[in-house]
Subunit: 355 residues, 2 copies
């Protein structure tokens, strides 16, 4: 599939073209080839391909560098490929999550030759599967210099609203231990499930913080997401496990989040099982504030975790901004409103073009 | 396998002979054939076979009738078949659970022709598997007249001590409900796992009854045996289940036990999932008291559940009494002490023989 100059100049046609190249995770070679073929010949860009991730950059010597990023893969086809367009709505796999956003980054890359900032673009693979395969995650670990920027915009679906930063997420396992015995002689054992009562009491009593960072209101949460224990119907159980999920605002890093979880469950056996960092919104930086202004002035905190945190680990503040409706991601009836593609395109262009 | 007159007259030889007929559950035809062939010709007994369960009875017109019962099956072979005897110890599958006990019932049946009470004998199949297949359970439901008696002795292993009655056992599920939400916006949901806290608190605060019935001290217990809940690591769970096991003394029937469980968890959603009745020790009956005296005068409450409760459902008090060590049941190194077979044999014979 060749992306013609005419398609590259039209965000809607480009969204449709990208959606109509199948690219379920692990199968991004064809779409990455198409993106590389479109950008490599352009004089204002340098490109570097790493696997099925393509990085393109301007080298104009501007004071600031802004990154636009989007993943190339989709979740599996669910009787929603290729696209079809009815009136103002384009239906199909990837229309919301996130080829309409990725198309905007590609459109800016192909058409804005004299931007206000130096621009970097990341088109990456394997976002919809385990984090270890995520192209952006791998690059952040192995080639961080390719991601260097002062500010990043991840074009994930936000329905055209700037969603700044993201909360971190940590999972911890609280293990209660006891002693097995036959339940007909229960006093000879120690019931580990009963010992979970004060753990659950602490969760019930927990008051989650609400924190403002750069004008964004974050709302934390600490919750049990799993509980299990038990050996057999006639045995006093010797172990019970409560898995909790702590969603933490970007004023806390992972170390502070872990310290907090351990403090809440002081006196209990706690193991951190999984963790992903928060990302500061960075709206105190001029290049971020300018983007918010270009996007209409409104913004809110991103509460869910997204790949913006990959940038956070490199010290780069980042926001989410894309035309798709996040509630339609991964749904069979995924779709995008064409006017929203166009309004997001206008905002991005206004932001990156020289005044 | 033919059980000779000499073998039938010797409780130790008879234990060995029964153990050396393989009879893992579902494979009791051969051993039941052998028992039937031994008892059917005897003039003082009538016999009736139902599947692989054999009932034998004297019809002497005595005032009282006493039942001796034992199951014919074993758990699967575990490199412990056939028996071997070293000094005073007979090793092998079934030696403790419960062919040494079953052999005593068969020995009494074959050799005591003029007992003090009318005697009934039940040799039954499928005790070591699901209760629905249990030969005694099936007979209690379909042919209860065959089990009629004033008192029953189940020859399960008790190491020669009278263990009277048994506690009942009931399982109930307490279900907590909530509302799912993404854990990044946990306040939009209602956490069902957190709602288990007061259930576990009630279990922690629970004071189990200690009850004396006919001089037997029973000790109840109410315990969580399973807990589970959770949907995914990023979802506020909408359901949590706590399964509790109530072991109840024989002064409570199943209806009273259920009422108690529902009272303890008043205000919660409770479902009774499984129940087996208690069995009163019945030691206030002369025929039971005489047996305790014959067995040495000592007795204690049976806390675990056994098939004596099958008799309880027919209104028949029952005790457990057998030469095996209950702690060796289902173990690879199952064994029985020959002197204990003999002392139990003496006690039984003294009990059933005319003075």
């Amino acid at each position: 599939m060749v992306l013609s100059e005419a398609v590259l100049a039209d965000p809607v046609a480009l969204t449709r073209a990208l959606c109509d190249i199948p690219s379920v995770s692990w199968n991004e070679a064809e779409i990455c080839d198409a993106v590389e073929a479109a950008l490599k010949p352009l004089g204002h860009l340098t490109t570097e391909r790493v696997g099925n991730t393509l990085i393109a950059r301007t080298e104009l010597g501007r004071d600031k560098r802004v990154m636009l990023a989007g993943h190339l893969d989709t979740v599996p086809v669910n009787d929603n490929f290729p696209t079809r367009t009815e009136g103002d709505v384009m239906w199909g796999l990837g229309t919301s999550d996130m080829k309409s956003g990725t198309a905007l980054a590609l459109w800016i890359a192909a058409t804005v030759t004299d931007p206000k900032f130096d621009l970097s673009f990341a088109f990456y693979d394997c976002e919809e599967i385990e984090a270890e395969h995520n192209g952006l995650n791998k690059l952040a670990k192995t080639r961080p210099e390719l991601l260097a920027a002062d500010f990043a915009i991840l074009l994930e679906p936000t329905y055209g609203l700037v969603e700044a930063g993201c909360q971190g997420t940590m999972r911890a396992r609280v293990t209660l231990r006891g002693k097995r015995a036959h339940s007909a002689r229960s006093w000879k054992g120690e019931n580990a499930i009963h010992r979970a009562a004060p753990v659950l009491e602490r969760l019930n009593a927990y008051e989650a913080r609400e924190v403002e960072v750069n004008g964004c209101a974050y709302h934390e949460g600490l919750n049990a997401v799993f509980i299990d224990g038990g050996v057999a119907g006639n045995v006093i159980p010797d172990e019970c496990r409560v898995e909790v999920n702590y969603r933490f605002a970007p004023d806390r890093d992972e170390a502070a989040a872990e310290a907090h979880v351990r403090e809440v469950f002081d006196g209990f056996e706690v193991e951190i099982t999984d963790s992903a960092p928060s990302c500061r919104p960075g709206l105190d930086r001029p290049e971020a504030a300018e983007f918010v202004a270009a996007a209409g002035g409104e913004f809110r905190a991103k509460l869910g975790w997204t790949d913006v945190a990959r940038f956070a680990t490199l010290g780069i503040p980042a926001v989410n901004f894309g035309p798709g409706d996040p509630n339609l991601a991964h749904k069979q009836d995924e779709r995008v409103e064409i006017p929203r593609i166009l309004s997001c395109a206008d905002a991005l262009r206004a932001y990156v073009e020289a005044p």
